[in-house]
Chain length 403, copies 2
């Protein structure tokens, strides 16, 4: 066991790029190397044929996040599309660890994409709020973790999910019954050495951490939700998530066939970069590294102008001459996530890259886009009542989930 652990650590050290559910950091302050990550994790790259196929099957344009490679990797996504083409449905599973009250834009990415998938494929969705995980990993009380879960649920609901197709649950509320039985089934099939190899636990970690992976695994199995999927135990599951969650689902996919279940399919995103640059995920400990959905228009403007790393040149003269380095420019990166108009984005990139647009002008456009986005989110969230939260979180059948 000690050997396996040391090996895992050595492998990480050698690469100097750490990506796991609790830490994302690039090598020496550089960018995350996603090709290397795909190799190490053993998933596949999404390619244009996937996008084309999604558009054909859903009769609508692919989401910006798919067209522009925000979601870039997958496992068995072809099997999901094959099954869908044959007329079989599937369900979506995503989640959030409720560690903070205010979500930032990076937190919204998987939910915006999941909403698109739900609308495009007309399929049910389960959203797990891992309040138990956050209690185990952070210095939070159970009550605070649960409060954050419910607050986060409001932001998630504000993304526009269909209550007739969506079940949101908190682990502390929902673990039990068929869900617990599946947890124990998974736990019986993973040795401690394997868990160390996948997650890098050490002997000084508490056994709560060691016990948690099955909790995140089992929403991949329809039988964990008898109120939704009774009699549909073979329904396939598609998990949209950021690629740092891949270790959980590698484990899940190993175990699934031994339990007589389908392996869940995955569609995985890159990380939304910090304002300061693309070296990892945004940091919850530095509020100036991210735009929050609670930021005012003034906050957004200030943060973008002050902190957003620019690929523009030092002087106007030099900029007019050389143009901006779009590869490292955060305003362009953010616009490629949230500016929906392909033509305008192309225009901005061309003009900025050629030095005809200045950083200030690009930042101004980004400020507009994000202010509108955040304002729209704020209005939607303000309209989410406690009763709506109760409705989404009620343990109930969803008779119209495949309509």
């Amino acid at each position: 066991m000690a050997a396996v652990e040391a090996e895992a650590k050595a492998a990480e050290k050698e690469e100097e790029q750490v990506v796991n559910p609790w830490e994302v950091s690039a090598k020496d302050g550089g960018k995350i190397d996603y090709d290397k990550l795909i190799d190490r994790f053993g998933c596949q790259r999404l390619d244009p044929s996937h996008i084309e196929r999604v558009e054909r099957l859903t009769s609508r344009p692919a989401h910006v996040f798919l067209r522009r490679g925000v979601f870039f990797a997958h496992r068995d996504f072809n099997e999901i599309l094959d099954a869908y083409e044959r007329g079989e449905k599937f369900y979506l599973y995503t989640g959030r660890g409720p560690s903070s009250e205010a979500l930032h834009l990076g937190h919204l990415v998987p939910f915006m994409f999941t909403k698109y998938l739900q609308d495009a494929f007309k399929v049910p969705l389960v959203i797990q709020l891992t309040d138990d995980e956050k209690f185990l990993w952070k210095n939070l009380s159970i009550e605070e973790s649960q409060r954050l879960a419910r607050e986060n649920a409001k932001d998630i609901i504000a993304c526009g999910f269909d209550v007739s197709k969506t079940f949101i649950f908190s682990d502390f509320d929902f673990v039990g019954g068929a869900f617990y039985k599946n947890m124990v089934q998974v736990a019986k099939r993973v040795t401690y050495n394997q868990a160390v190899g996948i997650f890098g636990f050490t002997g000084e970690d508490h056994i709560g951490k060691v016990s948690f992976p099955p909790v995140q695994a089992v929403p991949s199995f329809p039988s964990s939700f008898p109120h939704l999927f009774s009699g549909k135990e073979n329904l396939r599951c598609l998990i949209p998530c950021a690629i740092d969650q891949d270790p959980y689902f590698r484990m899940t996919r190993d175990v699934a066939p031994k339990m007589g279940y389908n392996k869940p399919a995955l569609i995985e995103s890159s990380f939304f970069p910090a304002l300061q640059g693309e070296t990892g995920k945004m940091s919850a400990s530095d509020p100036n590294s991210a735009i929050y959905v609670t930021d005012s228009a003034k906050d957004i403007k200030t943060k973008i102008n002050k902190y957003a790393f620019s690929g523009g040149q030092d002087s106007i003269e030099k900029h007019r001459q050389l143009g901006a380095n779009l590869e490292v420019d955060i305003p362009i990166k953010y616009l490629s996530f949230f500016l929906e108009d392909d033509a305008e984005l192309e225009h901005l990139k061309k003009e900025y890259g050629a030095g005809r647009l200045l950083t200030g002008e690009v930042k101004q456009r980004l400020t507009q886009v994000l202010t509108e986005l955040v304002e729209r989110h704020r209005r939607a969230r303000a309209a989410v009542t406690e009763e709506m939260v109760d409705a989404f979180m009620a343990v109930r059948p969803l008779p119209h989930m495949f309509d």
Copy 2:
């Protein structure tokens, strides 16, 4: 971690006496050394003052198992009696791992004693059926573990528990809510290294085993049962159990104060010996090592005559001359558990020890006693209906639990 593990193993090897929840074996086929066990575990011996105090507080004679040292060790039993004397109540918690359909006499010992405690102190009782544990440790399906739990519940109910004071639950049915929250609270406070030190897990053990100890810990906390103890979170807990379960509760007692709870108190029994002699617990794999509650009168007679290890001499002449060795004699040992009449037991021991009674005569008396006991149990069990099982296992308040 490897170091702690090796140390624990070395300590066990040195003593050559292994007592943990999954294995009980004495040194070189000798007897279990209970004094050594008390030292190693750090519990205390019960003494005559405890027995006297119990009799005074309950105004009834102490149970045979208490008078004769079957229950011989404790942790904080004084605190329970002090509190009871001040007019504070407590609750009892015991359990069973449902690994086999038929119970043997050794399995009945803690339940017979717990029933006495419930009657004498007029206190509520929770009984945990660890069907999840048995699924994790044995080659059983979840369904079979649950079926065995329900069958075992019938034998437990047949011991005469008061349905108005007793809640029996299966982990697979009951884990969730406040119970799950307490599991996670415990798990957060025990490192993997500590769990290895207490339970001897290895890296090749599955993480289900590592996850289980908190499940057995949390019935020690009233808050795990909000339907019973809401508003009584400071109620003390007394756990009657065999001493091999002590590791679970050492862990529980370490963690309890950190969670703001009382440490559970324990009253611990020695092991009921196999027919072949006192080297450990009876073995489930050898049906001739034990008397089962399903054995016929003929089975009982045959097993006692054929297998019960005798301390009598090889020939009648030698026996008349030297008398029986009562220390190793299984019929006398069994009678000391189940023959209630102190005077008769003393008489048998004296006459047999002096060689005036022969092994055959003592075995005949034991056959009578056990046949009656088993027949009484069989009648009681036959009267246990499915509705009664449902009643004991219903998640419900117990308004008369302290009457």
